[in-house]
């Protein structure tokens, strides 16, 4: 009986299994996987208006309530700098700053953020005038394909604010002392941003330098 069930599980399923459980790695979502057994809710799509302030500009949108903040940015406002990696909180590609704090835009609904202030990668710098964190990423070659980069940069900025506010992390030896900016602290605090290209060591260098210049 054991083996019977084992055979039914394909390799892809096992990968998904490990992604949602003990090791949350970034993998494609299980799109539509649950539709067959789900109870039928007859309700028709519901539209709702929401006002968001994104990179200093106010947008009023009429959205299906199901629209995630990530899809609102990418599909409705064409702010495609924010990336969709996993759509399940497992990769950090969708990281944006909500009222200054870093969050995963894929795991929140747009309608939940009436009046909120959002900063995306588009709001940080321009090609001619890079934000110091962006400049440090370029200087230290902190990416290869660049897909995780907008999320890494937004996350790094949110992370540095948390560190300066004195928030401890899993690797802080003394919970009550002000945390210091070490490579270990950066690695732990940035663990919510995966990079499939493995640019990790250069990411640490870029963030360390930008932190020094008070990005």
């Amino acid at each position: 009986m054991d083996d019977c069930l084992h055979l039914k599980i394909t390799r892809r399923r096992l990968l998904i299994a490990s992604a949602v459980s003990a090791s949350a790695a970034a993998l494609p979502s299980l799109s539509g996987a649950a539709s067959r057994d789900a109870p039928q809710t007859a309700a028709a799509p519901v539209q709702q208006r929401v006002r968001l302030r994104i990179n200093g500009e106010v947008h009023s949108l009429e959205l299906d309530t199901r629209t995630t903040l990530l899809d609102a940015l990418r599909e409705h406002l064409q702010l495609t700098g924010t990336k969709k990696g996993c759509d399940h909180g497992q990769c950090g590609a969708c990281t944006v700053l909500l009222d200054g704090r870093r969050i995963n835009a894929c795991l929140t609904l747009a309608v939940m953020h009436e009046g909120a202030e959002l900063t995306t990668i588009e709001g940080l710098g321009t090609p001619g005038r890079l934000h110091p964190m962006q400049a440090a990423f370029v200087k230290h070659d902190a990416f290869q394909c660049g897909y995780c980069t907008p999320g890494q940069i937004c996350s790094a900025l949110g992370m540095l604010d948390e560190l300066r506010a004195g928030q401890p992390s899993h690797v802080s030896a003394d919970l009550e002392a002000a945390p210091t900016l070490s490579a270990d602290e950066i690695r732990e605090r940035m663990s919510g941003n995966l990079c499939r290209c493995g640019a990790y060591s250069n990411l640490v260098e870029a963030i360390t330098e930008a932190a020094g210049s008070r990005a």
Binding site: R13, L14, A38, V46, G92, T108, G158, E176
Partner: protein, 316 residues
């Protein structure tokens, strides 16, 4: 995702009244677990009640010297609170070992307690799962069960509760405060909050439909040395295979709670009496009723060794 109507509740009373008026409604806090499951149509609420604006985001001292943590306090704010870092280090450590910086900025006290299992079959509607579809069977029993529970399990379900925070709260004797749709309030010891699967693994906690968590209270600080040790497949951003929470007093007495091994944070006060005899005696008492599968049998040894390491650290 199934369509749903959405409302922002203005007060706890309004939130429970709305829940009573909308059968099948769910509260949404951080959304980091609920939306994940709604995308997969494992959760299909017809109405969402946003509880972020209820003013339940404060951490306050209590008259007896304890702490009252609002249901909507974000996990990152709770871990950074000076009183928590000083007096309830176990809680700060457990929170900081969970999820990622981004997720902790949204995840809330109540949502964390109510997050659902990460059993892979619960997520996969092509395979049987008694928790997702009662009566369909349990694919994990004969399947991929490396992460699953070894204590408190049943023939119907061997899923583990994934929360780190709940393990610390169990060791700290936390109490969950709620508001019911009829306006009455009640207090539930965390020990009685989560349910064992038995024959009804879909019933995971003691809350009634529409009952709102408003706060979690902690008794006065327990003192002693606090250690939360989490073993996982990578150094960060992964759920526990085994987690051990210990509080050790100068006289050698203490408390022990386990995560990653049961459908709820696991604590046996009787096993704590074995602390003077060492980790192996405590582990033997804790694991006396363990029921393992071929794939998760390693957890018994891992519990014993992690406990030994945690106790050594607490006594160092």
């Amino acid at each position: 995702m199934k369509p749903f109507t959405y409302e922002r509740a203005g007060s706890p009373q309004a939130a429970v009244a709305s829940a009573a008026a909308h059968p099948g409604a769910r509260f949404i806090a951080g959304g980091t677990n609920l939306l994940d499951l709604m995308k997969l149509e494992i959760e299909t609420p017809a109405h969402l009640i946003d509880v972020n604006g209820l003013g339940l985001d404060q951490i306050e001292g209590t008259a007896d010297g304890g702490l009252r943590i609002g249901a909507l306090v974000r996990n990152s704010d709770l871990a950074a609170d000076a009183r928590v870092r000083r007096d309830y280090a176990l809680l700060a450590r457990a929170l900081l070992s969970g999820a990622s910086g981004q997720l902790r900025n949204r995840a809330t006290t109540a949502g964390n307690l109510l997050q659902r299992t990460r059993c892979p079959y619960f997520y996969d509607s092509d395979l049987p799962c008694n928790k997702r579809l009662p009566g369909s069977g349990c694919a994990a029993l004969g399947g991929y069960s490396r992460q699953h529970a070894i204590l408190g399990v049943s023939e119907a379900c061997i899923a583990a509760h994934p929360s780190d925070m709940a393990v610390a709260l169990r060791a700290l004797d936390a109490v969950v405060e709620t508001l019911r749709p009829d306006g009455s309030t009640r207090s539930l010891a965390l020990a009685d909050f989560h349910r064992l699967p038995g024959e009804t693994p879909q019933v995971e906690h003691a809350l009634e439909p529409g009952e709102l968590i408003v706060a979690v209270t902690l008794p006065p600080p327990p003192g002693g040395r606090h250690v939360y040790r989490k073993v996982r497949d990578r150094a960060s951003y992964a759920f526990a295979l085994v987690a051990v929470a210990v509080i050790v007093q100068p006289d050698g007495r203490g408390r022990v709670a386990l995560g990653g091994v049961a459908p709820k944070p696991w604590r046996l006060e009787a096993a704590e009496a074995e602390l003077p005899r060492g980790a192996s005696a405590v582990a033997t008492a804790l694991l006396a009723e363990a029921r393992t599968t071929r794939e998760n049998a390693y957890k018994t040894l891992l519990v014993e060794r992690t406990l030994a390491a945690a106790l050594a650290e607490a006594r160092s």
